[in-house]
């Protein structure tokens, strides 16, 4: 494969002259070189390392016998997943209410200041009722779950459990003609899909990496968890506090499993159509279990992840809150802009079991999924301002007053799980693939699936008159 240019190159010349040495050698020289290095290092290690061999198996080996065992392997994974969600939901409930109480109390003080300086009502509306309330909601609802979820996840990561999950699930990925390491990128996706997309770098094969990028969105990220948790808690679970969080955790686990199932199906379809190919090989190191350093875990998960994601949410939520308030308070004829748009979207939204306001909130939530519920609430309330989010019960009342049924709740959750990726994730897809075409594919696949699934569910329910 030498080109004319290479022939001029003295290095390439020597290289072609070495061909006879390579041919004369029985085993490839490259193999010999590696073998020789290893036999050299083996001798060194024999000299410098003394091992006291103990016949006893360490607790680490025993743990692996359970973690990857035929009987306990999968149930343990499910149990841990459910436990992480349950601790997150149960633990976040009270801090969320406390933060909400403080932030909304401060809103009254803000309002008072605006009255003192006799600021115009629209300014108070945009800044306090729009921007500040959305911010307060996003912080109150997002911060506590993230501050619990991320450290829990980092502990599992530091323990060395995640590679075992990849090991356990590889067979399914192989059947979908994808890479077992895709599972690790999905784990990252729980935190943030944009981060999940970037983490696909660990997959060597470009084809399998692209599959992982295109499907990462089917893992609900932290911006979508609050939406899922809130709806699951108020619509799907009973009102008992303890069993409520347990049931909500169960529902979230099922939703996540559905997302995983969709990931497998879409990966398989992609591998059989536009990204045809056989699964490539897979070498995975299973590092020894290590006791996590709790200080480091907290530091890394709070500073690196929680604050990072929260900052991003705030930067987007503030202007979105202001814009939504303006749209809800600017009237065209009898209807506010928001009501106008929602009305236009309504027929389509009804067909998939949502309503115009919900669909509009998802569309306006493109910059960040965190703002979907705040936008929805703000647009539901006639005055176009966000309710004082005191408790989930109030939220339920608002939703029911706006015609929500269990189907609306269910399909909103489905839509939240399956719909298009947020703008940041799309941007990451573009950066990682360097292709507008693949970014568009990454947008259109979830969009089509979300509409199709919700349509089928809604029409089935309508047909049997279940809701």
């Amino acid at each position: 494969m030498t080109t004319l240019n290479n022939k001029m190159d003295p290095l390439m010349k020597i290289h072609s002259e070495t061909e006879h040495i390579r041919l004369a050698s029985g085993t490839p020289i490259a193999d010999r070189v590696v073998s020789d290095i290893f036999s050299y290092t083996e001798k060194i290690v024999q000299k410098v390392v003394i091992r006291e061999v103990s016949g006893q198996k360490s607790w680490k080996d025993k743990i692996d016998q359970i973690v990857i065992s035929r009987v306990f392997g999968y149930p343990l994974m499910l149990l841990l997943l459910g436990a992480v969600f349950w601790i997150t939901i149960a633990g976040a409930n009270i801090p969320s209410q406390m933060i909400a109480a403080v932030l909304f109390a401060f809103q009254d003080i803000l309002t008072h200041w605006f009255e003192v300086v006799q600021a115009p009502a629209w300014l108070h509306g945009v800044l306090v009722l729009g921007m500040y309330r959305t911010l307060a909601w996003v912080i109150a609802v997002m911060l506590p779950p993230m501050a619990i979820f991320f450290p829990l996840f980092t502990i599992l990561e530091d323990l060395g459990y995640l590679p075992r999950v990849a090991f356990n699930l590889d067979n399914m990925f192989k059947k979908a003609k994808a890479c077992g390491k895709q599972c690790l990128t999905m784990c990252m996706g729980f935190g943030c899909n944009a981060a999940g997309v970037v983490s696909t770098r660990i997959i060597d094969s470009p084809r399998e990496r692209l599959i992982a990028i295109l499907t990462n969105n089917f893992v609900p990220c932290n911006g979508r968890f609050p939406t899922l948790i809130a709806i699951a808690s108020i619509f799907m679970a009973s009102s008992l506090v303890f069993s409520q969080s347990l049931q909500a955790a169960g529902i979230i686990t099922l939703i996540v499993l559905l997302g995983v199932a969709v990931t497998f199906v879409v990966s398989w379809i992609l591998s059989s159509t536009i990204l045809k190919g056989e699964p490539s090989s897979f070498v995975l190191e299973l590092p020894p279990y290590r006791k996590p350093k709790f200080g480091a875990v907290l530091y890394r998960s709070i500073i690196d992840r929680t604050l990072f994601v929260l900052r991003r949410a705030i930067v987007i939520a503030a202007p979105a809150g202001a814009i939504t308030w303006i749209m809800a308070n600017v009237y065209i004829g009898d209807l506010s802009v928001i009501a106008y748009i929602a009305g236009a979207l309504n027929p389509l939204a009804k067909a998939i079991g949502l309503d115009g306001f919900i669909l509009m909130a998802f569309i306006l939530g493109l910059p960040a999924n965190e703002i979907v519920v705040p936008i929805l609430l703000m647009s539901y309330l006639a005055t176009g301002q966000l309710t004082e989010f005191g408790s989930l019960l109030e939220l339920k009342e608002i939703l029911i007053a706006n015609g929500w049924t269990w189907l609306t709740a269910f399909n909103t959750m489905l839509f939240a799980l399956l719909h298009w990726p947020c703008a940041t994730t799309l941007l990451s897809m573009y950066k990682e693939t360097g292709s507008k075409k693949w970014t568009f594919v990454g947008f259109i696949i979830p969009t089509v699936i979300a509409f199709a699934v919700c349509f089928i569910v809604a029409q089935t329910v309508y047909f049997f008159g279940l809701a």
Binding site: S25, A30, Y40, T41, I44, R51, E52
Partner: protein
């Protein structure tokens, strides 16, 4: 203003040093606590991004020791430098052409045999190597006794045992880096002795390789080995860097400056 060639080469890798700053590369296998070493040394003074033109993470961090500033460049975690993946290519090219003042290779004390593979490869490329044997706390738990003095003799480079998670040994590591990068006390790493067949082939090639006069850019023995295992991508990279460096030398001569590489 024209800069020293070393700095220009570094800028190819997105490395910008300020004033008198020493560049230290950090290499190691995956899962050996390399990032713990990196985080503990640099703390909050980090900058993360991508390697120029590649979708591979690049983390750089600063720390000071004895009033000197050090820029620590975290290379991708790799098992080898024989460049079969983008990560290995980046790590190899940086150690080879980025001209770090020292390269730290982080090893897992509990699996030295496998980890030394990377260390031996790095030691073939550059003499400025410090070996950090990390996770000695785990090794203790596994009842492994490592004779670090003997290891140092066998390898011919400074060996620093650490348990980075507990901060153990990191002061010593910083001191070793200082000695090598600032005081220019250069190690003399021992080289792998290959099997007869390979050594014979190297011997045949060496005169030809040395005649190319690339010794300042790349270790001739390492180059001969790459020619033997037909690493075409690396051979092309070498040619490219050789040309760049020659151009820079010409540029410097035209500016009437004297310099040494």
């Amino acid at each position: 203003m024209l800069q020293a060639p070393g700095r220009i080469m570094r800028e190819h890798f997105g490395i910008k040093t300020s004033g008198e700053q020493y560049v230290i590369a950090l290499a190691g296998n995956p899962n050996v606590g390399k990032s713990t070493v990196f985080n503990t040394l640099t703390g909050l003074h980090q900058h993360t991004g991508n390697w120029p033109g590649k979708t591979v993470d690049n983390a750089q961090g600063k720390y000071s020791y004895k009033d000197k500033s050090f820029l620590l460049v975290d290379l991708p975690g790799t098992y080898s430098l024989l460049a079969h993946t983008v990560e290995e290519e980046i790590a190899r090219d940086f150690i080879c052409f980025g001209q770090p003042d020292a390269t730290i290779v982080v090893l897992d004390a509990t699996s030295l045999e496998r980890n030394l593979n990377l260390a031996m490869q790095v030691m073939e490329i550059t003499s400025n190597v410090i070996i950090c044997v990390n996770l000695i706390d785990e090794a203790r738990k596994k009842k492994l006794k490592i004779d670090f003095k003997e290891l140092e003799k066998e390898l011919g480079v400074p060996i620093i045992p650490t348990a980075a998670r507990n901060g153990e040994g990191l002061k010593e590591l910083q001191k070793a880096v200082y000695t090598m990068a600032v005081e220019k006390v250069i190690a003399s790493p021992k080289q792998v002795v290959y099997s007869e067949e390979v050594e014979k082939a190297i011997k045949i090639l060496m005169p030809k390789v040395e005649a190319l006069g690339l010794a300042r850019i790349v270790n001739p023995k390492w180059l001969a080995l790459r020619l033997l295992d037909s690493d075409v991508s690396f051979i092309k990279t070498i040619s490219r860097y050789a040309t760049t460096q020659t151009q820079q030398m010409v540029a410097h001569k035209e500016q009437g400056r004297e310099f040494t590489l």
